[in-house]
């Protein structure tokens, strides 16, 4: 959806396509051992109508980043500017206005729905909070939303425990859509679901995006699905974005050594391809985000790491058409 020209736009000039500007955002947590740097100096632009995939391993800060973007966690430093129906900066003060435009779908469809509320009241709650419509119209909207996500209106009076995982995720989507948002953070919406149900939800999210002109930040660790659903993909490691490119480019010409290892580690459901594939198996584990290394975050596991990598943190720069943070990728 986005060509490289728009990606190259200088950051200062806001064009009409930009929905969210994330400027040097960090999120640190104070823990007893020191400071946990979950998200480090992230700069990112999200465009209207696109799906931005965010991938990385557990503990890389991707979910924290999603929550910072939703205003659930206040950022430790940096600025997030939102240019939707209203132009606002995402701060605690603006959170109520912002939550009318942005919503989140959670990973676990079991713990994210209140077991004591009926499905209808779960979906309606957001509309009541934002004083949308009168009671009768809200009821109609609940029915419409249930049908939109592939459930039926009789389900409104039931409780969450009566539904399967896939159906609960549909309820979660209906709740997010109830207040007519423009932007949705999908935090691993399918990883708790079975394979045959995953494709149902992916297709639903895809259709809704087209119908309602939504913008998604799609957080996941399943790279095949991210490739399929995203226009652009950002790869995150230890709280830093290490590579950002359109999804085709990222797969065709992977630049960062971590992205390469991540892509080659994903098993492909095809025995011949699996047998012939050369795997770059990464040794070791992700270092702790508490007091992380001062150089490149990936240096301790990188097969190409040299002295400069351990000393100096690489900047996220435009190289060969990708934004990539690595000392050893040529311009």
């Amino acid at each position: 959806m986005m060509d490289m020209k728009t990606m190259n736009m200088p950051e200062k000039k806001v064009d009409d396509n930009v929905l969210i500007e994330i400027q040097d955002v960090s999120k640190h947590f104070k823990v007893s051992e020191g400071i946990l740097k979950a998200v480090n100096h992230v700069n990112l632009t999200i465009y209207k109508g696109e799906t931005l995939g965010l991938v990385g391993e557990s503990g890389c800060g991707k979910s924290t980043f999603g929550k910072v973007l939703m205003g659930i966690y206040p950022a430790t430093s940096g600025k997030i500017l939102y240019h939707g129906k209203k132009d606002i900066e995402i701060t605690k003060k603006n959170l109520f206005a912002y939550s009318k435009m942005a919503q989140i779908i959670f990973q676990d469809p079991y713990s994210s729905l209140d077991p004591r509320m009926t499905v209808g009241s779960i979906i309606e709650e957001g509309m009541i909070i934002h004083k949308m419509y009168d009671k009768k119209r809200r009821q109609e909207r609940v029915y419409e939303l249930l049908e939109l996500v592939g459930l039926n209106r009789e389900h409104a009076n039931r409780f969450p425990h009566e539904f399967s995982g896939g159906q609960r995720q549909r309820i979660g989507i209906a709740r997010a859509l109830a207040i007519e948002p423009e932007f949705i953070v999908c935090d691993e919406p399918i990883s708790a679901l079975d394979v045959s149900i995953q494709s149902q939800i992916i297709n639903l999210l895809h259709d809704l995006q087209k119908k309602l002109n939504l913008t998604y930040l799609f957080i996941a660790h399943d790279l095949n699905i991210v490739k399929y659903i995203s226009d652009r993909i950002a790869v995150m490691y230890l709280g830093n974005i290490v590579e950002l490119a359109t999804s085709d480019q990222l797969y065709e010409k992977t630049l960062h050594p971590y992205s390469k290892a991540l892509l080659s580690a994903v098993p492909i459901p095809d025995p011949d391809k699996e047998a012939s594939k050369k795997r770059d198996i990464l040794g070791g584990d992700v270092p702790s985000p508490i007091n992380p290394p001062k150089g490149c975050p990936f240096a301790s596991r990188c097969p190409h790491a040299t002295e400069i990598c351990r000393q100096e943190k690489p900047k996220l720069e435009m190289k060969q058409g990708h934004l990539v943070a690595c000392h050893h990728v040529k311009k």
Binding site: E57, S58, S164, G166, Q167, D194, V195, S196, I197, Q198, S199, Q200, I202, N203, H206, H221, L223, N224, I225, K227, Y228, I229, D231, Y251, A261, L262, S264, A265, V266, P267, I268, P269, D270, P271, D272, K273, E274, R279, I281, L282, G283, D285, V286
Partner: protein
Amino acid sequence: MSKILEVKDLHVSFDTYAGEVKAVRGVSFDLHEGEVLAIVGESGCGKSVTAQTIMKLNPMPPARIVNGEIILCDKDIVNATEKEMMAIRGKDVSMIFQDPMTCLNPTMQVGKQLTEAIRNHRKMTKEEAHKEAIRLLELVRIPNPEQRAKQYPHEFSGGMRQRVMIAMALSCAPKLLIADEPTTALDVTIQAQIMELLKEIGKKTNTAIIMITHDLGVVASMADRVVVMYAGKVVESGVARDIFYHPAHPYTKALLKSLPTTEMSRDERLVSIPGTPPDLLNPPVGCPFASRCKYAMKICYEAPPAEFEVGKGHHGSCWLPHPDCPKDQAGGEQ
């Protein structure tokens, strides 16, 4: 190659307050030395129950083996007593689980746990067992095994814990290793490490492996043969290449098609399987997949389909290939 395990027409039920849950309903397969067999299916299809029954790990009651035979190393273990099973577990067959943290004792040094397992089955002095434990930790590629053996499970990362579990499972050189979703809780780069390790160990020690998973990518990279389960039944089984390139059962076909490939463009829709699996409290009389199958005929709802042979060693359970089935029904790719 000698046969290690043969499961014949296994039925396992759980007696609950709501009634009898028929979790496994007639599963048969066999396994040879050094072979990797994958059992694939969605949650609740009975794949884990099948594996746990081979180890007889399900508490009985509520679990009950209704019917069937499990022949492990030429011995039927269905009627084995708990004492006999204690000798079999660990020595002939051992198991690794999805979540290594809950399977290790948090209050005991990793090396101690290993030597304990070794000395339970083998006559060894403490020193010998300790040496063996270090050798096993080396085998599963844990760096600095001497020091690591003195640490507690919480000092290990998820991938390292899974390696300890594998070392423990291998401690008595079992003929069969059952891996129940061993990589589901791990990250992809760690998953790749563990899969590589399991493959290597299978080759080195000629241990047969049963790999239980829902991830078809893992299956493609590891399995020699595949058993596809749905609602407590085997719907298709065969050599991995046959299952992936010539799937015969509509469920297998749909499952393979529902995965996005890296070549797919965004405008192509994923094939999805409508509906959800049946409730095993009241399993359907006919084919369990009938209600979600787009080729379902009247007979599919009325009688369970017979097994048919697709090719050599490749079987499926479906009514479509039946000689009396009209050709326009069976024909046409999905």
